[in-house]
């Protein structure tokens, strides 16, 4: 196969470094380190080389690969050892081809005198080389280090052989559901991955985006006075931002609108934590994929919750509801959460816990109403992570399965399946 693959500078990627033959990658990287060390002696910088992880970025095209390469600059606090950017050009007219570039990327850390450097190999594969990419990648990985696979774009079919090859060498695969063009179908695909590839953990950058919201919701019930109301929650409302257009659209930043992925994850989380099940009677359920509107009738069961240890808890059985709806927001990234509201009723005492955006993406109002009395209302900094590099950094810090996230995905898939939303 090696002899059959086209070589040579058919494609120019100046940002990817020096074009080399793939067999020469290690030698060329060693040479780059040596040159860098010589520069260090003259420039009095200290180059720092780490050995903590391999990051493999799988991109569908050159543009997204270049974008990912830029994001790597923002990972200055992550201990990358080696990055491999794979561009899998599946255009039908492309012959079999394999091009490789190498570079050493160095960024100042803490001061100008010390630089963190990592090795970057970029591989452009076309034709049959794509199918063999897993094997082609093997010698490019630093041994004994975990492999994190960042898959750009929509998740592939589970049976996709290229994806399968890459998953076999990966310890973790990272997606970003904010860019999924078919969010419901794609979430369904994600939910199936843990069973299909049990050795690889799963991440979604969107889960990191909603983490501050989860934290704020959880904080309501840290207060002992409000804890009993958790068992009485009977309605969940979530609003997500959409741009003011009727049809589904992908924005310039790559976001899709509507994209209820974050809202669905948040709803799935609450459903799981509250121990709710879908009600047998589904006639009240509603979905509107195009508009990003959903509602489900749920069943609460005191046996399925562990919210109160007191046997005197009056939180009984009953119906509950989850509603997801869009909120037109021209200035916000589609999919952003705009409002979360939990309504509770215990012994005929009503309580409402609300978090809503306070006019910008950095602050929210949190409020608790007991009956008609507003008990506390606060402006809180959301401390949200929007920056893609930071979100990615957070996922690179996680070594094991995020069991909660994988469970939530299954819950969301269950909700969507019940709504008969999965495409055949």
């Amino acid at each position: 196969m090696t002899n059959d693959i086209a070589r040579g500078p058919g494609v120019r990627l100046p940002w990817a470094g020096k074009i080399v033959n793939i067999e020469e990658v290690e030698t060329q990287l060693s040479l780059l380190w040596k040159i860098s060390a010589d520069n260090m002696r003259t420039g009095q910088n200290v180059n720092v080389r780490t050995s903590v992880l391999n990051l493999v970025i799988c991109a569908p095209d050159i543009e997204s690969a270049q974008h990912a390469s830029r994001v790597l600059r923002e990972l200055s606090s992550t201990h990358l050892a080696r990055v491999a950017i794979l561009i899998l050009d599946k255009s039908e007219e492309q012959p079999d081809g394999l091009w490789t570039w190498v570079t050493l990327r160095c960024f100042s850390m803490f001061s100008d005198l010390m630089r963190h450097c990592f090795e970057q190999t970029t591989v452009l594969a076309t034709g049959s080389a794509i199918r063999a990419i897993g094997n082609i990648m093997q010698p490019l990985l630093k041994p004994d280090l975990p492999v994190y696979l960042w898959w750009l774009g929509d998740p592939p079919d589970i049976k996709d052989p290229t994806f399968n090859n890459l998953m076999e060498i990966s310890n973790r695969v990272i997606f970003d559901s904010t860019g999924f063009f078919n969010p419901e179908q794609d979430i369904y695909t994600l939910a199936a991955l843990p069973d299909a590839y049990p050795d690889a953990a799963l991440s979604d950058l969107n889960w990191g985006r909603i983490t501050p919201w989860l934290q704020l919701v959880a904080q309501f019930f840290d207060t002992p006075e409000y804890r009993p109301y958790l068992a009485g929650v009977n309605a969940i409302e979530i609003e997500h931002a959409v741009i003011p257009l009727m049809a589904q659209v992908r924005t310039e930043q790559g976001d899709v609108s509507p994209n209820p992925a974050r809202a669905l994850l948040l709803a799935g989380w609450l459903k799981t934590r509250l121990g709710w099940e879908l009600a047998a009677d589904t006639t009240g359920n509603h979905h509107d994929t195009a508009g990003g509107t959903y509602s489900w009738t749920m069943e609460r069961s005191p046996r399925s919750t562990r919210l109160l240890t007191s046997p005197r808890s009056k939180a009984g059985k009953g119906n509950a509801s989850i509603s997801i709806r869009p909120q037109v927001q021209a200035e916000m990234r589609p999919g952003s959460i705009c409002l979360v509201r939990l309504t509770s009723n215990i012994e005929n005492k009503r309580a409402t816990f609300t978090i809503r955006l306070a006019g910008d993406t950095e602050h929210v109002f949190t409020s608790v109403e007991l009956g008609h009395e507003i008990r506390s209302k606060r402006l809180v900094s959301l401390t949200a992570v929007h920056n893609e590099g930071e979100l990615l950094h957070n996922e690179l810090e996680v070594l094991s399965h995020d069991s909660l996230f994988e469970q939530i995905l299954r819950e969301v898939a269950g909700l969507l399946e019940d709504s008969s939303l999965r495409s055949e």
């Binding site: 959880a218 904080q219 840290d222 207060t223 006075e225 804890r227």
Partner: protein, 516 residues
């Protein structure tokens, strides 16, 4: 209002979340809030926790001190301090806004019961307005002489227990001046607070690298088998400062190096290195093992003290490129002072693991550099195969060094062949640096410790018996030193690694001090 259960289950919404440890809402009352510690360490630490760790929105701080400030004035001072001392700058305005909303100030003398009544009222108001749930931390950031008064008044006002929620008290070092005063302070604390409410702080335990000692030992299978007398020749623990008194002459005269450093920081490092693996990684299991080490220390009494300890004072010299005066020339220091600024000790631990292995401990001021490290020197290979070659005499023993500060990390020295036709061996270092392996900035020690207290985790705090066992060991030395003539106090030039007698002290054992 619905009935609450007697035992509150954990918040089920937190289960499985990847969010860093987030404590329950609480109020931290800082006694002595206008002092140096509060502004240099505590407020910046709390701010950084608010920035990086989701402190609950209702978290509140009450400064309790004598000076007549308003809430607003105290907040302004807090902002100034955070701007100056926080490891993350500039201050994030949104986070500050949210954080500052919970900062309050109460002016009172520490002996005034009315002040504690006002405090009680304020705390109840904060419970209602900010949802702090009856959870309180009282931080004693005052001179130790005021601890008993504050503790007693907290008890008298009923603030030592909450009707709902929990109450904890953090007590700064020094915890006592000697064994008797430490026991007395413990007794007074115990009259008002249960032991599980008490958090005695030694900020060294909050350092990432100190915590890493246990991780290094117990998370890796290869080190424990050689971590004993069969393979270890000796251990050196060095806590060196290049600074002098920094204006604390009056305090230091009463303290000296052995109270200021050895009784707490140095012995803490010793216990972490020498302890047996605990049966579980919980607060009491870990501290049980640390206390055992302290109890197993061979007491130093009588002539042993003279033979196994060195004390010295710094004389004039050069440190960090500038001339510095000698100790007795410092403000607040008596010209005839016998307070030691340098201590070296050789101690033994009577346990199966460590019998016969000397632990050399040293600490001092105005040494050439600021460095804290633990060096474990292993015994030489039992058979020197290379004695007929030029390698002989160049093979050094293996040394595992745990660097606490600066250049936090771990290194292992071992012998490697020099490339070439001859069998030449040189020692090389295999290094792990925190800074270049984990580029995340390390949190300050106080951040970790304050958060742990909020979370109710006392693993990194000192227990009552631990404090008393450490004092019991030190007391023997103090008692003997009182009887020794002044001539036994050596001097050393500022900027040197200590007195000549300290070198001779270790040379007698055919060993030498490391140059960190």
């Amino acid at each position: 209002m619905p009935q609450r259960s007697v035992v509150e289950a954990p918040n089920p919404l937190r289960e499985g979340l990847r969010i860093k440890h987030s404590p329950e809402p609480c109020v931290m009352v800082i006694f002595g809030a206008t002092g140096d510690l509060t502004h240099r360490k505590l407020l910046p630490a709390l701010y950084n926790l608010a920035l990086e760790t989701p402190l609950p929105a209702g978290f509140s701080v009450v400064g309790f001190a004598r000076r007549p400030y308003t809430d607003e004035q105290f907040r302004e001072q807090a902002l100034e301090s955070i701007n100056q001392y926080s490891r993350q700058k500039p201050v994030n305005p949104q986070v500050w806004e949210s954080f500052a909303a919970g900062i309050h100030y109460l002016q009172s003398d520490f002996h005034s019961p009315a002040g504690y009544e006002k405090l009680n009222t304020l705390l109840n108001t904060l419970d209602h307005e900010r949802g702090t749930g009856g959870n309180r931390i009282f931080y004693l950031s005052t001179p130790p002489s005021q601890y008993p008064e504050i503790i007693q008044n907290l008890g008298a006002a009923g603030l030592n227990k909450s009707r709902k929620g929990w109450t904890r008290i953090i007590i700064e070092k020094p915890f006592g001046h000697d064994l008797a005063s430490a026991r007395e302070l413990n007794r007074q604390v115990a009259k008002v607070f249960r032991e599980e409410q008490v958090y005695r702080i030694d900020h060294y335990l909050g350092k990432e690298t100190v915590q890493n000692i246990l991780v290094f030992r117990l998370a890796n299978g290869i080190f424990e088998p050689v971590w004993n007398r069969r393979y270890v020749d000796h251990v050196q623990i060095t806590v060196a400062e290049n600074i002098g008194l920094e204006g604390r002459g009056a305090y230091y005269e009463e303290s000296g190096a052995i109270r200021d450093m050895v009784q707490n920081h140095v012995l803490q490092l010793l216990t972490l290195v020498a302890m047996e693996p605990p049966i579980a990684f919980d607060a009491n299991a870990v501290r049980d093992e640390k206390v055992k080490v302290l109890h197993a220390l061979q007491p130093l009494v009588g002539q042993d003290v003279l033979a196994q300890t060195i004390r010295a004072q710094y004389g004039p010299g050069w440190v960090g490129g500038r001339q510095v005066p000698g100790y007795t020339e410092e403000p607040g220091v008596s010209p005839t002072s016998t307070t030691e600024t340098y201590v070296a000790l050789k101690v033994f631990i009577d346990s199966w693991r460590w019998a016969g292995v000397p632990f050399y401990l040293r600490t001092g001021k105005h040494l050439p550099k600021r460095v804290s490290e633990i060096a474990i020197q292993f015994k030489q290979a039992p058979l020197m195969l290379f004695k007929r070659s030029e390698a002989h005499g160049q093979v050094e023993p293996n040394v595992l060094t745990l660097r606490i500060q600066p250049d936090e990390g771990i290194s292992l020295k071992f012998g490697a062949k020099v490339p070439g036709t001859e069998m030449q061996i040189r020692s090389v270092n295999m290094d792990f640096f925190y800074g270049s392996s984990f580029f995340r900035e390390q949190p300050e020690a106080y951040e970790r410790l304050l958060l742990d207290c909020m979370l109710g985790d006392s693993t990194l705090f000192t227990r009552r018996d631990e404090v008393e066992a450490a004092w019991a060991f030190i007391q023997g030395i103090l008692d003997e030193w009182k009887n020794e003539p002044r001539e036994t106090i050596a001097t050393y030039e500022s900027g040197s690694w200590g007195p000549q007698v300290a070198d001779e002290f270790i040379w007698r054992d055919n060993r030498r001090w490391r140059r960190p």
